[in-house]
Assembly symmetry: C2
DNA sequence: TTAATTGTATATGTACAATATACAAATTAA
DNA sequence: TTAATTTGTATATTGTACATATACAATTAA
């Protein structure tokens, strides 16, 4: 079975397409929407659907394979693997903190109200307890 | 006076340097660390400090000027302007939501624990009520 | 008026993103 | 077993964007 991840990519974004694909899929993997043993669409299928060349998708899959999320076999497509989460490192935490700050700042600058931001942060936290 | 923003840039990051500078400064602007009337370092000063070419800094300043944060005058340097926050738009909010999701996913994939993430999200919220 | 300081404009080298195309492996069907 | 098809891979090419070098223009100060 090939669950359609229903990705949102923005061709106008400064972030390269292959990385948008990586980021989208990583979210689904972390959240468990895509689980061990699931098979992703073929590079050609997903490329067609997103309107980009299949090599761009292949690059994204390779990146996720490097991160330990996927196993790529010829003809069998990309299969989601079991993956052990790395140990928490302070440097990574600091990077996370900086990125979060900048994301919130970007949102506020773009007009997202403090109320809305708070709401989304809260939602995000509640997903964990659930 | 020229407050030193004390920016953190990572030459190894895939995010281009000029955008790292933009993101860092935008945080300081949104948070009010840099306020109306403040003057930023000259492009050559900041470039020297960060070890990049001054044109790279100029590009960042121009970006922030486009966003309405800075006014650039020859010889007078970059001056922080009063800026009216745009009205909240649903599309922007959705983008913010996607970015937040991806940031958290990235963090979890890199080993940041749910506990740590929750802690940072909470901190961020508390900054608003303060 | 002259000199120094600063942002701007243009050109260039380099790296990376995205594609085109040919190839190799694995499955399926005859 | 063999041939055809489906897939990911490898390599080359093209275009775009990042970063720099360098010359220029404007403004301030001496």
């Amino acid at each position: 079975m090939r669950p359609d991840p229903n990705l949102v990519i923005d061709p106008a974004s400064p972030v390269p397409v292959y990385r948008q694909v990586v980021d989208n899929l990583r979210s689904l993997l972390v959240e468990g929407v895509l689980q061990e043993g699931d098979t992703l669409p073929t590079v050609r299928e997903l490329g067609m659907e997103l309107g980009v060349h299949f090599n761009t998708i292949a690059e994204a899959y390779r990146q996720l394979a490097t991160e330990g999320w996927l196993e790529l076999k010829r003809r069998r497509g990309a299969v989601v693997m079991a993956r052990t989460t790395p140990v928490e490192q302070s440097e990574v935490v600091e990077q996370f903190h900086r990125n979060l700050r900048q994301l919130v700042a970007q949102g506020r600058a773009d007009g997202v109200s403090i109320r809305t931001i708070t709401q989304h942060l809260k939602e995000m936290m509640e997903e964990f307890s659930a």
